[in-house]
Symmetry: C2
Subunit: 432 residues, 2 copies
Amino acid sequence: MNIQQTASAAKAASIHMAAAGSDLKNRALADIAEALKDNSPAIAAANQKDLDQARADNVTAPLLKRLKFDEPKIAGVCEGIESLIAIDDPVGRTLNATELDDGLELYQVSCPIGVVGVIFESRPDALVQISSLCLKSGNAVLLKGGSEAAQTNRVLAELISKAGENAGLRRGWLGLMETRADVAQMLVLDEYIDLIVPRGSNEFVRHIMSNTNIPVLGHADGICHVYVDSEADMDMAVRITVDSKCQYTAVCNAAETLLVHSAIAEDFLPRVKKVLEEKSVQLRGCEETCRIIDVKPATDADWRTEYLDFILSVKVVDSLDAAVKHINKYGSGHTDAIVTQNKENAAKFMDLVDSADVFFNCSTRFSDGFRFGLGAEVGISTNKIHARGPVGLDGLLIYKWRLIGSGQIVGDYSGPTGKKFTHRKLDGEYGL
Amino acid sequence: MNIQQTASAAKAASIHMAAAGSDLKNRALADIAEALKDNSPAIAAANQKDLDQARADNVTAPLLKRLKFDEPKIAGVCEGIESLIAIDDPVGRTLNATELDDGLELYQVSCPIGVVGVIFESRPDALVQISSLCLKSGNAVLLKGGSEAAQTNRVLAELISKAGENAGLRRGWLGLMETRADVAQMLVLDEYIDLIVPRGSNEFVRHIMSNTNIPVLGHADGICHVYVDSEADMDMAVRITVDSKCQYTAVCNAAETLLVHSAIAEDFLPRVKKVLEEKSVQLRGCEETCRIIDVKPATDADWRTEYLDFILSVKVVDSLDAAVKHINKYGSGHTDAIVTQNKENAAKFMDLVDSADVFFNCSTRFSDGFRFGLGAEVGISTNKIHARGPVGLDGLLIYKWRLIGSGQIVGDYSGPTGKKFTHRKLDGEYGL
């Protein structure tokens, strides 16, 4: 099948996925877990081929680590599937119910979005997580994993889609894309695809966002800030800065810019510099920073740069307002943290910083679906609509309005002598 | 100010709108209502100029009726503002609260989207409704009304923005756009504008959707269906068909296609034809329809056409599944109704039809924010994400994740000996 056929099959399947009951979906999930366990030698063998190729291609050690998908990792994703089975079906929940008039009842009921296209890095566990999240939320899914994991992904997609079909899901509910050309084709298939979730480099995500009419959920930059307020606990501020920058530099929720209130800059900057430099972090400072500590000067471009590396830009600000202004101007609306002992300052920062995640006295690195308790994460969104920050199951859902009448027509409610709506809140759940 | 400056000012104001308390917003709304009442002679005078010009330009009677904004209509919108004041602030609601660990609490809290650009028809009451909905939901707003209402809109926008500013909102919270060139400029200002809601003709909305990277909430086509099932009550089916088609033809929730189950087509089609033709509706039928009643044949294009006129395409289908398939193929995901006495059929139809609004035994014309009890309506959305169907206040909101810590860093939760998250559901509301 070409991508258009794959997408069209997914669209057709999605209609039935939306109507699939909890039992069917949970049975499919259980069968998928079983298929993965039963076939773990075959999965591991395919993964070994990917690993061999990756080593031959001299890929980096962290990538190799993410690419590896052995028996313990397979057991891990199966546990994830078990916890998905255990949670209540997010589809079919009555969000609101209103009596419009006697015998005319309106129900706003959660439902899947339809067909979701997800592009993700070379991590086979992501393929399993994303497809099981889509299944639980009743969505059909098109998957494109990193090319380094091609062999593993092919085996996994085949096992998962077949196990789902054998359990009773429509053929085509899961489609695999394998090449960049496939992804390029997908971008014009707005007739079939309802949402794209791209994970990957800034340029890649930006390219997707600029080249499709399909809604995109995700983030390009992750330019996260730590603001150390005049009333910060210095030790805490050092620890939070170091963790936000260094705990894992290659990720979107790592801090890229440190903002320091001028009232404590003279004390704080030398202390934080010492610890950061022990961690091999290179600092780039504003003029005032360079006056206080001996670091390389920052340019305007630094405030807009996601280093994803052991580099941190540092700016001294004269007020909380100036910190907020800097973040709202240069930030990416991802995650920004304030360190302070003053709750009013924290409240103000959290109200005025226009980001998906606003944190008080903790590391920016907490911004993550697992840490937030959302279960697996589809992605992190810096969109301003639909879903913001770490996106779990909820981001894969929308709603339908279901109106149950007994012959009502609008003509009867029109004009000065028309019937009046009751608009009475109902407690019940939708059901026929 | 040019549009870029207007949009930039709105963005700056939006940060403070998001943090505005309920008292400030309600005071601003009350002051706006008062300003409108106090200045109703000036508003009516400006409106008279628009009406005179429109008459000179020979605009249609329905447009003149919508354009008219006299004292009773001004009183009407002021009543609308009073009911907005009465409802709870939708901003700052805690949607979810989770303890991640001792002293580390996560709150998902509703907040405004930011800057919303709304383009609407020549109805001055829409300007008042939209700006007050945006204010209540803490959004800054850029407005572009129909050019026929230019004089009225200018007076209204000036009064509303000034009354808001005098009450304490930031200057620039409401911006008025006046020309098509303004709108074209707005489409590239994704740096400042977070959402566009275009209301208007199919071509116009489609043009907006295809020419901006800003998320668009709305609908192009409204190709709504009535499906008369084999087990329909015939009288009810006639009434619902007639109301769905004729109650107001020029609107998106009017029916454009009638689907009739073959088992009752011989009985039903002559009956519905008689009543529709009394209402001057022209029918266009499929082959089977033309065999049963004497109507013009439909072409494939008819199934994709939003007539917005006294024309109805008619198709005989052999099953509920065929009806669903037709709707999901040719419909626009707006509003589709089934008429049947069989609840199982209704349930199946409502599960499988992939539209924002799925109705059972009532007219498609009920699909409307006022009739749904949402208060005023920003628009009707056929998007699959964020908001679907009639969009009221809720569609103007999103959320922020607010994490309150006491010095936690991710390093402490990493590795085999790391601390474990508690992920305990909290009952409390966010507050510092």
